[in-house]
Symmetry: C3
Subunit: 190 residues, 3 copies
């Protein structure tokens, strides 16, 4: 079982995922939370392409594609033995536009069963991003955030044609994280 | 000639289709109206997976995919001999999210020439659904209906990349069914 | 390097492209601006399918697909020797709905590296179209223009799954063509 978890920075997807997985342990449901970016960084580091994490977004698109493919292969291997919740990006915002997180050659290898989009209100996302000083983040305005979420919905629907996965949209509005966690648990239960 | 006709419950697509086909008979244009759900139910019944029609939505996604594929094969066979207007769903709303009505393995077999989306105003759809007691239907609110129609547009555009079909959006607002019928007739004429 | 440039009529994409290419010459960056429609018209003329340019939109969909594919092949050949900025349509509005500009069999042959969508405000586009008497254009209203741009975004995201290209959206609001030109130059620089 491979469930892909996406959501643009500031949607709180990782918090939702962590809580859902903790609570599911009591029900005997166990997933390994794997972060695509971690695997990509590990591979890019090994290849000598980057030194720090923040350099990942500055990779040339050709290099980014190679690293993305190699990471997909590695995750496929892991998913053969364990149930995986894959924390990743639906699309990646680059200098030259939006890069698909799951181009065909990655998607066909992975074949997820569910593709989750965690969304939040664009105004809330903008606020969360502006107060988050721990990483270099663009101060995208609300309009860009809204558009990015819409484009992600579009491409997620297309991903489902290739893999036959379902696409689940989970709203994570401020102060209602428990509802988002409950929705994700429904997806993860067998 | 295979034309796919979709529209979420409450858009009135079946009414539009029935009227269009009746009127086209006078012009010597004849299509068989085939309902994907009927073929799927027939197959699922034969396989012993369901007893009643309402159980179809509760099928596990693995079973749903199998039945979907087998129904696609059957429709392909029918379409080799007759012109078909295929009444179906663009996406299917399940517990685990939206399932594509036409995953790659169904789409490539069918190769429709036109993909029609019948749409209506979300408020009107919500009203029609609430007064329709003949089938078990969720009381989705307007927002969910609006989103579902938007996601269907997205995925329909993607379907067209695989099949090269055109995507025709037909509005069916309250009290203007004749205009929707006229639009569909334009699509169905050779 | 193949960059695809799209934008519905009235967005000013060709003006943006021409200015960007002129300015890049000073930086030693050179692209040939190739218009898909020109290549398609050339091929359709040679095949005896049309006499004038305005007849292109009235081609039967079967013929349109054939011409589209042959044009794609020709552009692939050109792109093997030069950097190409391909001026074309994301989708083509026909009597039977929206036809994809890049069905799978065209897309796989071309493999663009960036897919650009030039957009403008629907009200501005409607205004520009109504005062443009040089070609036969439909007076689509703002709502249709808005929808067409949204559908183009959706399908562009799907194109990226097949080719791994990035999708860059460039706004070209009235009176700010220099900003749009600057954005396109960022995409075209190596």
């Amino acid at each position: 079982m491979l469930v892909v978890l996406t959501g643009i920075p500031g949607t709180g997807k990782t918090t939702v995922a962590t809580k859902a997985l903790e609570e599911l342990v009591d029900e005997g449901v166990k997933y390994d939370l794997v972060t695509y970016g971690d695997i990509m960084f590990e591979i890019a580091s090994n290849l000598g392409l980057v030194e720090g994490r923040d350099e990942m977004r500055k990779l040339e698109s050709k290099e980014q594609r190679k690293v993305q493919r190699l990471a997909g292969n590695k995750i496929s291997q892991i998913a053969e033995e364990k149930d995986i919740l894959l924390d990743t990006h639906c699309t990646i915002s680059t200098m030259k536009g939006f890069l698909p997180g799951f181009p065909e050659w990655v998607l066909r290898g992975l074949s997820p069963e569910v593709f989750v989009l965690v969304e939040a209100d664009p105004a809330e996302i903008a606020l969360r991003r502006s107060s988050d000083k721990s990483r270099q983040r663009d101060r995208d305005d609300e309009k860009e955030i809204r558009e990015h979420q819409e484009l992600n919905r579009s491409i997620a629907m297309s991903y489902s044609i290739f893999s036959g996965c379902t696409v689940k949209i989970i709203q994570n509005p401020q102060g209602k994280v428990d509802e988002a966690v409950a929705e994700l648990k429904k997806v993860l239960r067998k």
